[in-house]
Symmetry: D3
Subunit: 133 residues, 6 copies
């Protein structure tokens, strides 16, 4: 559902301008356009993205990679596309992407194995159980 906003409210316009300035671009992604139907949600979500994704104790690059990992598991084609690109722009090389995918696939594999075996958390790793002893 790609919707081109024709008459944009001031509130939406402010967010769009902030997106353009922050990302140094003239282009507004479909996600933000689609979301502009709900001004409050647009504002809140952009404000979260801006704050949470910026460099912190974890660098922006690794945040984008964690973002892509979640998006792959949620099978969100839109987010995989845009955030894989974002990670590449932020410095993710082919070699890094290859290592990234290997970790994603390994975790996905061992998750399914542990689930299939009904693998129980080891007593020594289970904080609450240790406490009850």
């Amino acid at each position: 559902m790609t919707t081109v906003e024709r008459t944009i409210s001031n509130q939406v316009n402010d967010v769009f301008e902030d997106i353009k300035q922050t990302r140094n671009t003239d282009y507004i992604n479909n996600f933000w356009k689609d979301l502009s139907h709900d001004e409050k949600s647009l504002e809140e979500t952009w404000s979260q993205v801006k704050k949470i994704m910026s460099d912190g104790k974890i660098s922006y690059l690794y945040k984008e990679m964690i973002y892509v990992a979640v998006s792959i598991m949620n099978n969100c084609d839109y987010c995989i596309h845009t955030h894989t690109l974002a990670a590449r722009k932020a410095g993710m090389t082919d070699e890094m992407y290859s290592e990234f995918m290997q970790v994603v696939l390994l975790a996905n594999k061992t998750n399914a194995m542990a689930t299939a075996m009904s693998c129980e958390v080891d007593e020594r790793f289970d904080v609450s159980k240790r406490k009850e002893v």
Copy 2:
């Protein structure tokens, strides 16, 4: 299904010894014990874990964090437990974990939003469509 192997084959024993030496511990996790019923799968999976999770272009710490992100999305209690612990041992501080969870939750949120809105990949981000033009 936690199974204590009583009579362990040589093949299983070799893997267990390698796990102990690599991880500098005397303890074998339930996952590996449960997997020891299928020697080939045990060997292959341990060999993958050892190789893929080691420092590379992406450091071991960030590999563990990507691993945990995937495990949360797969709802694998066992893997969340053990790999969150592993990430902490590798240097993930409370602040890093807090940022990590914020990124996971933000991606999970925008994934659901993009899905609910049937958000379409922007033409400019869609490599194959550009090609067909």
Copy 3:
């Protein structure tokens, strides 16, 4: 896989006519057309939809909203599209949709948090455990 049925069996035709009459429309959705390859499944599924989705102790409108919530979590683009439209036709306003999405996103967030923390069911909420005491 959109399939236009050319020669339709009597059995399929009966279901199609019932859909048209029940929904007061001349249009048969792709879902039912695709399903018409398996007459028994078409009949059974339409009969379930007709019965389960009608007003009951829960009104049709809220049934459609629960339906959309499930479809978002299952990432089913087709069902999200058609049932969000159906909910709107049944009276879901922009404000209601906004509240609906906030609940979906909140549940999705706290689900991931509880999973990441391996949150245990409180003894007082766990019926079976209380019984064993």
Copy 4:
């Protein structure tokens, strides 16, 4: 990971007191206790729950049911338990729960069917495609 906070910061205490007062109880659920390790996240999440789940255009009862639907699809045992109870306290009868589960299972079924058949969104329901014509 059920953790009983011994020394609680003032910030955490304030949230706990607000939870007790709002819900008219002396009991703090494991979810909030577990979350109290991250004060900011505790405050933000409780504030969201308090605001989003209160009666609005959608009543509290139906918000709880939508919440449970999402939690079932995410397989979050903790949230299913606590929010099914909450919905029952808010007036969900056995008959309503039975209808609720029928809708959840029907949506889950047709989602899998549409996915298995790669069912395409009907042109007439696809807003963006209509626009491009």
Copy 5:
């Protein structure tokens, strides 16, 4: 939520007796006990299980294996446990289980890869697109 039914209605009793006779056992699984709170759902679900899981064009053994595959992907611990046991009783050897898990893990891997690459269905495999040409 394991509930031991004390006073069982005739309707529930009939289903329980049919389960015992069909499966040649005196034991009723927790799933059926838990479900007995909703007589109609109990009857309908047991009748589906009895009919769908019996030998047909696909043998009971392979039906159980397909059942387990779905249950692993849905992370349903209860169903994985009971139906892996059922498959073993129906003749699934260690070797077959090992091959089964390899296929499950391979599909799970290539699914994630195709999703991460946004892999498009080949024109020649896309029935509906061919038709439009």
Copy 6:
């Protein structure tokens, strides 16, 4: 992301030739073309597919059906398309597909029911618990 490889390395060419010969076709699927950007991953994945999917204790036909079951649960449109076709070519009739889908939908239904009811594994089916007694 459908990428037509123009200049193909020898390593990629070898895999492509092996695919053509093994499958007796001149056509390389988009999946393998997209994967050819990462030679090592291409080689490894093709080698797994070739080995794991071949007739064994479980026939190729049933392996394809298990593959499709996993792909439906993962909502991977590409894999559902290609492997449903592959299963049909391997002998899956309309009747078998109908039975297959019934099992998938039944498992998917009872999974959601067991999850919604927080159904506990029966003591007699829980190997590890029996051991601790």
